[in-house]
């Protein structure tokens, strides 16, 4: 029977989320009953779950069928941990059990991330597309349970939250309490019309981002630039600078396009998933950038890594100086984010670079505050802050971010260490 199931899965077509026009045609067709019901103030819970499951299965069919088994095993694992901790937390609250629960929840992801680094680039059998994003959701739940703000969880809602189809592969990362409220309440007709309007706009914008702009930067521009850069070789050359910008724009339009699709499809289901991008290249500082780039990820790290690190450091008075505290927390936070991307020198240095940039950004803000205070006491006006200083901030931030993306792309790894001319 198992053999038959595997053969059947291998025979099915494999559809990656939002991967091709056909995917949208089928998805939107299946969503019509959901949209109509929403319009009349009802949520078709069972139908929506079946459609979601169907589209999840076709993500892991064909040659990647084993990912489906990994997904099922993973969800069972997380369900046991989350519900066991929930039962425990109702009666007790101890740090070792909390830390143990978080560790067990992260463990599969650690295996998946570390395996390629120690096993010649081979993927772990535990891995499946989207494992990181599911882990973020369950770990946040455990932390909120420890905090005592998440007290009631339902198995059916938990599974729907973990396996929420529009965002399963790459986010945006939602929070359980927010999701549950949306899921249990159907939007009014007026709200839903507003969501529909936004969904249509996001779908069109997403198509433009992903299939026009990302195609232009990522395929038409990037590929020949890479060939030129590798042909010239050396430490640095002009085509590599071209690779930097082309890759940076490709990364943004591809991921922002995907995120717009995910948000649009969520809206059609009446779930107001958070936005992931807010014009990141208009950021006037690196702190501003992280409020605009992959927002649901950076806010997750802010709430569940950075703030908790700071809490432990401040509460136990580890460092006398608050600037040392925030600096250490920034660097650790960004380093962990780097490790999460993958255990390679370029992801980790990408994280480290952003951590250092956050520290410098903070130091500059303190300096400015101090200077302005002195100037005020001396009867002088504050340091200039106008459209020119903002423009300068945007330019500097943009160049820094683009350079960090070049590092992130792994292209330097190819240029410096694996360039077979």
């Amino acid at each position: 029977m198992m053999q038959g199931l595997i053969q059947w899965l291998q025979s099915l077509p494999n559809w990656q989320p939002y991967g091709e026009p056909k995917y949208f045609a089928f998805l939107l067709a299946f969503l019509i009953p959901i949209v109509v019901a929403m319009f009349f103030g009802r949520r078709l819970k069972i139908y929506q779950s079946l459609v979601s499951l169907g589209f999840i299965v076709v993500m892991y069919t064909g040659a990647s069928y084993h990912q489906l088994f990994a997904l099922v095993a993973y969800v069972i694992w997380q369900t046991i941990i989350v519900f066991a901790y929930h039962a425990y937390r109702k009666k007790y609250d101890t740090f070792p059990i909390f830390a143990g629960a978080v560790f067990l929840a992260i463990l599969p992801l650690i295996f998946v991330k570390v395996t390629p680094a120690i096993n010649d680039g081979n993927m772990s059998l535990l891995g499946f597309l989207g494992i990181s994003y599911l882990t973020f959701r369950s770990v946040a739940m455990i932390m909120e349970m420890r905090d005592g703000v998440l007290t009631e969880i339902k198995l059916s809602t938990f599974l729907r939250f973990m396996l929420f189809m529009p965002t399963i592969s790459s986010g945006p990362i939602d929070r359980y309490r927010r999701f549950e409220e949306d899921y249990d309440n159907v939007p009014t007709r007026e709200e839903y019309l507003d969501l529909l309007e936004k969904a249509v706009w996001y779908l069109m914008l997403g198509f433009f981002y992903k299939y026009v702009l990302a195609y232009f930067f990522g395929t038409i521009l990037l590929a020949p630039l890479k060939v030129d850069a590798l042909a010239q070789g050396g430490f640095m050359n002009w085509p590599t600078v071209g690779v930097m910008y082309a890759y940076g724009f490709d990364l943004f339009f591809d991921f922002a396009g995907y995120s717009l699709f995910a948000v649009a499809i969520s809206y059609l289901m009446g779930i107001k998933i958070p936005m992931n991008f807010n014009q990141p290249f208009k950021a006037a500082s690196i702190k501003d950038f992280w409020n605009r780039w992959h927002i649901s990820l950076s806010f997750w790290f802010r709430d569940f890594v950075f703030m908790r690190l700071v809490f432990v450091l401040v509460k136990n008075k580890i460092f006398k100086n608050r600037n040392v505290t925030s600096g250490v927390a920034y660097i650790l936070n960004m380093l962990i984010m780097g490790f999460w991307h993958g255990v390679t020198w370029y992801y980790i240095s990408y994280g480290l670079l952003h951590g250092i940039a956050m520290v410098l950004n903070d130091a500059w803000l303190r300096k400015k505050k101090k200077v302005n205070k002195e100037r005020r006491l001396a009867g002088k006006g504050p340091l200039p802050s106008n459209k020119w200083t903002t423009a300068l901030g945007i330019i500097v931030t943009f160049q820094f971010v683009m350079f960090s993306f070049l590092l992130f792309s792994g292209f330097l790894n190819q240029l410096w260490f694996h360039n077979i001319k």
Binding site: D147, V149, R302, D303, F306, F311, V314, R322, T325
Partner: protein, 79 residues
């Protein structure tokens, strides 16, 4: 001293900012609070008022102004 006066003094001590006249202003938008400051404020409030404010509770929507924080402290003290 009442809670409001104590909170104002606490924010002045921690961040060298006087919020007496801006009790309804968003402290994040005003550049007074950030994620680092939020945690410092939480720790200080725990010590001063003997309340436990969960890190995930001090959100940017419901604890973002002086008056809202005062209300939050009163709520937790009476809980």
């Amino acid at each position: 001293m009442d809670i409001q006066a104590e909170l104002i003094e606490m924010i002045d001590d921690l961040f060298m900012e006087d919020i007496t006249d801006i009790m309804d202003e968003d402290l994040y938008n005003a550049g007074i609070l950030d994620s680092m400051g939020t945690v410092e404020l939480i720790v200080a409030m725990e010590e001063k008022f003997g309340i436990k404010v969960p890190v995930s509770e001090l959100g940017r929507d419901d604890w973002n102004t002086g008056n809202k924080i005062v209300a939050g402290i009163k709520g937790l003290k009476n809980a």
